[in-house]
Symmetry: C2
Subunit: 202 residues, 2 copies
Amino acid sequence: MASFNASSNALDFLRGCVVDFDPETGLSKTAQTGKRRLSQMKGMFQDEAAREELSRHGDPVVYEFHSLPLPETPGDLAFGCSILNPGKVGDEYFFTKGHFHTILDTGEVYYCLKGHGYMLLEDPQGDWSAQELSPGKAVYVPKRYAHRSINVSATEQLITFFVFRADAGHDYGTIETKGYRKLLVEKNGIPTIVDNPNWKRG
Amino acid sequence: MASFNASSNALDFLRGCVVDFDPETGLSKTAQTGKRRLSQMKGMFQDEAAREELSRHGDPVVYEFHSLPLPETPGDLAFGCSILNPGKVGDEYFFTKGHFHTILDTGEVYYCLKGHGYMLLEDPQGDWSAQELSPGKAVYVPKRYAHRSINVSATEQLITFFVFRADAGHDYGTIETKGYRKLLVEKNGIPTIVDNPNWKRG
């Protein structure tokens, strides 16, 4: 069986469409992902020498995500999967760059399909939390909060299905320049929050 | 392990929070569902006598869904699970009432966690489609389209995780009064689209 009277265009966001996302891999037959390699995350980990070394030898894909060609209006919703590989730079777990929305007053929802990790939240005034993600948990990213996924599993990908307002936009620059106030590192095998020694005040 | 520096309020949509949704049942330990019984769907199925008979004998729950206490602003996103039971009224599969958004120009995303069904879409001008749902498929409900889930499995619940703009609002009245132009019924064991003989022009 299949859809009835559906558009012949697989990604018709004006008439409605179905997009597949394999809950085991996060990948889609309908849409490609964009990839972020470690070489594209210069200066974002505490141990920059370790990051550079890893980038030179293999340059692993840290994460990938969908970016569907939706109309960027306040009434549309962007969606897709984020796939964050396991790994560490020194004692710091692999993470996504993290960003504010350009329209700061817009939230986001992530539903975890696979893996184990945290969503690190931080608002411009410094309020922060790290919300634990495992399969079946949804995290609500409130308006005004930067958000970064962190994978604390040694072996498994962290796979989340995300939805945000299609016009929200991505402000990566603030985090790239200032960093987060907090980091999540492994200490004695346990995920532990520490202050970021490289955090730059505004 | 648990979240770090999280609010003591389990549903803190201003600072961020985690809400669990069991992918097997759609249910949450954190939030209750509202239930729709067949007696609350008077006149919505083609065979009203069969519906009344079923309502009198057992009055089954047709579906349930979460309605979290989120701020209803254009920057927030409402989310939760919809759980649609298997069943039929005559040859018509169980469905959700279906609705337009009060703010018509807002879309919605559904990610299917379990089951087999369709999302029936119809805009005010009469354009329609029925988008097939199975685990791992996301359906995009565009702006301006009424949407109704239909469960075509004889045995399994249809469970979807949904996200929409928190201020979108629900207009149930238009569908309750006019109905959909199309129905999904079982003919020789196969889901089949037919015209709705009871559809009322505007």
